[in-house]
């Protein structure tokens, strides 16, 4: 729950202006991007840090890779978080 997970924005959802399809280690899920309006919004190809279905900050790809490495090292905690994300369906 507390883990910030990096994901890559794949596309903005045309019928939901605050949602984007984001890929997290190959899992594609809708993520709310409504908290990044002050950061200039997001575009496909951007990397974001996701907390419980919401993007909280934009990061660069190198930081995303470093974060993923850290998360992978957490073991079960990260596996469970990814599992929960995979089951999430927030349209």
């Amino acid at each position: 729950m507390c883990l910030g997970i990096p994901g890559e924005v794949i596309e903005l959802m045309p019928d939901h202006d605050d949602l984007a399809i984001v890929s997290v280690e190959g899992v594609k899920r809708a993520v709310n991007i409504g908290l990044l309006t002050e950061e200039g919004g997001v575009e496909p190809g951007d990397w974001i840090l996701i907390h419980v279905g919401f993007a909280l900050s934009k990061i660069d790809e190198a930081e995303a890779k470093a974060s993923l490495d850290f998360l992978t090292g957490l073991g079960d905690a990260y596996t469970e978080e990814l599992q929960a994300l995979a089951e999430s369906d927030i349209t």
């Binding site: 840090l49 279905g53 919401f54 470093a66 905690a77």
Partner: protein, 389 residues
């Protein structure tokens, strides 16, 4: 992956370790608190204390939101879930947290409809799909998750949903740090500031720690080298007589935080006069509740809650662990009666809890030996004369 390799580079770590050792005044002991459970995890996983001189110790703070939920609030949530027409939704982390009458898992086994969700927006979707049920979201977490709850309430209002509410247990990090600084049994020389909470609140709110309390704070990333770098920055400040808030994690944390996130929290929630923290007791203005304007989405107003304060189990010393007074292994039940499978205290429940981190990485044996042979000297506090601003 070069970037990652650079962060893990053992040679760089050794260089930093040498620089850290050079900054330590002979005969002086230093105690820094890492506030965030994610940092605790990195420290034990990578054995970072092995890179530090014996005179520098790291103590764990209260930065695990699951760990600080008092038993009475778990019981209140279960009381909500026991209504026949209620679906209680919760992050998976909360499911095993023991209350006075058992955990969410126990209550679910006894027939309550309690469902795990990844996001409050998942809870909202369950509400849309079940118009004949009242769906309650168990909202927990520091400022990293509070904006998500607030956004979800705003969305529920916008959609005109009448069967969705949140049981708000959000806590705020600054008053907890303040409470620790006021604690007479722990003297600290500085703080390794939390990473992800700071993406929301920024670095500014920590200013009082430097200005009023005379302790330096460095917001830190989660890589092993980030944490060593932060220790170095803290020691450098102390050696130069400075006392400031610094941002080691600037690649993710903006100095002013996420203004939109702060704005939505302020729109939907307000500070409570006081809130009980597990192990720490009542702390003033340390938690958030739903504002009157959003009363229709506030489970505390909708349901009649027992609201009974339940004392922590006597054997459990989570409070001392959360304040950094005790190392996890110094707790009487650590690793014996209290394990991740059968947790007595919350610090053993969450993977970010200090006890679980110790337990999972099997470092407690080494720590036990190290601590048993360590001679403790008093740690001098930073004098007012050393405060640079």
């Amino acid at each position: 992956m070069k970037f990652v390799d650079e962060f893990r580079d053992a040679a760089t770590a050794r260089v930093l370790a040498t620089k850290i050792a050079a900054l330590c005044e002979p005969g002086r002991r230093y105690k820094f608190m890492e506030v965030c459970g994610g940092h605790t995890h990195t420290i034990y996983k990578h054995g970072l204390e092995d890179y530090l001189p014996e005179t520098v110790s790291l103590v764990h703070g209260p930065g695990c939101p699951v760990c600080v939920i008092p038993m009475g609030r778990v019981d209140d949530a279960i009381a909500i879930a026991e209504h026949d027409d209620v679906i209680l939704t919760s992050f998976g982390d909360m499911m095993r947290v023991p209350g006075g009458r058992g955990s969410f898992f126990d209550s679910k086994a006894a027939g309550a409809d309690i469902r795990m969700v990844y996001s409050p927006l998942d809870a909202l979707k369950i509400a849309r799909k079940n118009p004949d049920k009242r769906v309650v979201f168990m909202a927990i977490g520091f400022e990293t998750t509070a904006p998500s709850t607030a956004m979800t309430v705003l969305r529920a209002k916008q959609e005109g949903l009448t069967n969705f509410s949140v049981f708000c247990n959000h806590v705020t990090i600054i008053p907890a740090i303040k409470a620790i600084l006021d604690s007479p049994d722990l003297r600290l020389d500085g703080f390794i500031g939390p990473g992800h909470v700071s993406t929301v609140i920024g670095c500014r709110p920590y200013d009082f720690i430097a200005r009023q309390e005379g302790k330096p704070l460095v917001c830190s990333g989660f890589e092993p080298l980030d944490i060593l770098q932060s220790v170095y920055q803290l020691l450098l400040q102390l050696s130069e007589g400075r006392c400031e808030v610094e941002n080691q994690y600037a690649r993710v944390v903006p100095w002013n935080g996420n203004t939109k996130a702060l704005q939505v929290i302020g729109e939907v929630m307000e500070l409570r006069p006081h809130f009980e923290w597990r192990g720490l007791g009542f702390i003033s203005h340390s938690a958030l509740r739903v504002r009157e304007a959003y009363a229709d989405f506030d489970a505390e107003r909708i349901f009649n809650l027992p609201g009974v304060r339940v004392a922590d189990p006597k054997a459990c010393q989570c409070g001392e662990v959360l304040k950094g007074v005790l190392k996890p292994w110094e707790c009487k039940v650590f690793g014996t009666a209290c394990t991740p499978e059968t947790p007595i205290g919350t610090c053993m429940v969450s993977s970010e809890g200090a006890c679980a981190a110790y337990y999972n990485f099997g470092r407690f044996t080494r720590e036990r030996v190290k601590e048993a042979t360590r001679v403790d000297l008093p740690s001098p506090t930073v004098g007012a004369g050393e405060v640079a601003r």
